[in-house]
Amino acid sequence: MGTGQDQRDASRTLSAISVVSGFALWELVGRYMGTGLFLAVPTQIAAATVELWRRGELLNHITVSFSEFGLGYVIAVLLGVPIGLLLAVSSRARATLGPWVDGLYATPVIAIAPLVILWFGIGIWSKVFVVASVVIFPMIINTEAGVRSTPQHLLEAIRCFGASRMQLFVKVMLPSALPFVFAGMRLGIGRGLIGVVVGELFGARAGLGRLIAESAETFNMANLFVGVIFLAAAGILLTALVRRIEQRIVHWT
């Protein structure tokens, strides 16, 4: 127990040192290599953050982007898991939906983002759609793979107790697929955040992606990096959150 805690503390310290040194290096390079027009250093970014926060813009951007991400992500999980389950247990569903899933998975939804803006307008729903459509595929595919990878000897053992198909599904396949579902959820975070930004680049009133696009047009590098850093932080925090839920629920792995 003691050593486990020590190890965790040690790796936490290492992560902190890594981040701090990275930022320090960034500051030095930015300051003394003279590329001020295309790069902002951490101190400038910090100042810009304070300024944007004071004006209330930052909170607005964060709220808009987070709503788009959150709604799209939840919709994708709520739809993707059942579709994945259906594909795994029904060969008819696999035959019917399979080509669509495989085809759409390979389609860069990002590329049709401008169209999505035309369909759903520049409000949040176009971005919700983009997020949902990029997150849903890892959810479907992972859930299906999870159910399919249920160990055969477990299925047979429980079947020998007289379990019905439904009981096998609920008591064996579903729990067995859970680790895969969570892996899909973790993959979905990165994809979803990219979806938010790209969606907003093509048309939005507010949001971190919009902040980035706007700042790029006006060469406001400090504001641009505020957007980037808040997105990166969101990625780290959300992944940690999902991981924590995962450890709570999938405690046996």
Binding site: I158, R159, G162
Partner: protein
């Protein structure tokens, strides 16, 4: 025809997979409360026979009767202990032991939970009710598997090489534990193994199978006093049984090993 005390009966059981005859005309009777082992070289159809009793496989000809009723599918009245670790990793020991009850009843009646706790106690896992399988050793997992099979109070206990994945010393301990547990409940047991000394030590009778096609070579009555301690294995009587059975299958075992080498 069926004698009232026959728990499990094979009547001219034959199983073919295409041209391959896995089992040929197997007839045998296992009485209520009897401990019977099946031994034989690999390829003798032990596994196929067990899958037929489980209801996972249908016989091509002949039939298998359990308590006078023909076996036609999987069912609650057979308790299985498998070779590989088949506990559900997301369930605790207690919850794993209760899975059969849950499947049959659709819930967990309090009386059954109490009985499950007693069984866990009996197989020597008292205090480990809330442990997960990954926290248990191989021997402990097989104890849990045994409790799980007994929890549904089956007509017969079917054990498919349950100790084969254990190290030699743990296996010895589990053999003596199994006789102790069996002595308490006198459940009818069909035990499949390729360890001849294990079969002799545990059983009232040993059915020796021959291979290609799988058929009964001889049924050996093991006349050793009960209850048996592990030391019984080293008595001249037990050694003579092991010797006899080994000689029945020696040539075929060597054949099967040679075949595997060629593959």
């Amino acid at each position: 025809m069926t004698t009232p005390t026959a728990k499990l009966e094979f009547q001219h059981l034959t199983k073919r997979f295409g041209d391959l005859v896995a089992l040929q005309d197997i007839s045998a009777t296992i009485a209520d409360g009897e401990f019977v082992s099946i031994v034989g070289p690999s390829g003798c159809g032990k596994t196929t026979l067990l899958r037929i009793i489980a209801g996972l496989e249908r016989a091509t000809e002949g039939r298998a009767l359990l308590a006078g009723r023909e076996i036609s599918g999987v069912g609650y009245e057979r308790g299985f202990v498998f070779q590989s670790d088949s506990l559900l990793p997301w369930r605790t020991v207690l919850s794993n032991v209760l899975i059969g009850i849950e499947i049959r009843e659709g819930r967990r009646p309090e009386a059954d939970v109490q009985r499950a706790r007693e069984l866990i106690q009996m197989v020597g896992l008292g205090g480990f009710e809330n442990y997960y399988p990954r926290q248990l050793s191989g021997g402990m997992r097989q104890r849990a598997n045994l409790a799980r099979a007994l929890a549904i109070n089956p007509e017969i206990l079917l054990m498919d090489e349950p100790f084969s994945a254990l190290d030699a010393q743990t296996r010895e301990v589990m053999q003596s534990e199994l006789t102790r547990i069996w002595q308490q409940g006198r459940k009818t047991v069909l035990f499949i193994t390729h360890q001849i000394d294990e079969a002799v030590f545990l059983s009232d009778r040993v059915i020796v199978l021959a291979r290609r096609p799988g058929r009964v070579r001889e049924v050996v009555d093991v006349d050793l006093p009960r209850p048996r301690a592990l030391a019984v294995k080293r008595t001249p009587g037990a050694i003579a049984y092991v010797d006899h059975i080994w000689r029945l299958i020696e040539r075929e075992v060597i054949e099967s090993v040679e075949e595997e080498k060629r593959r």
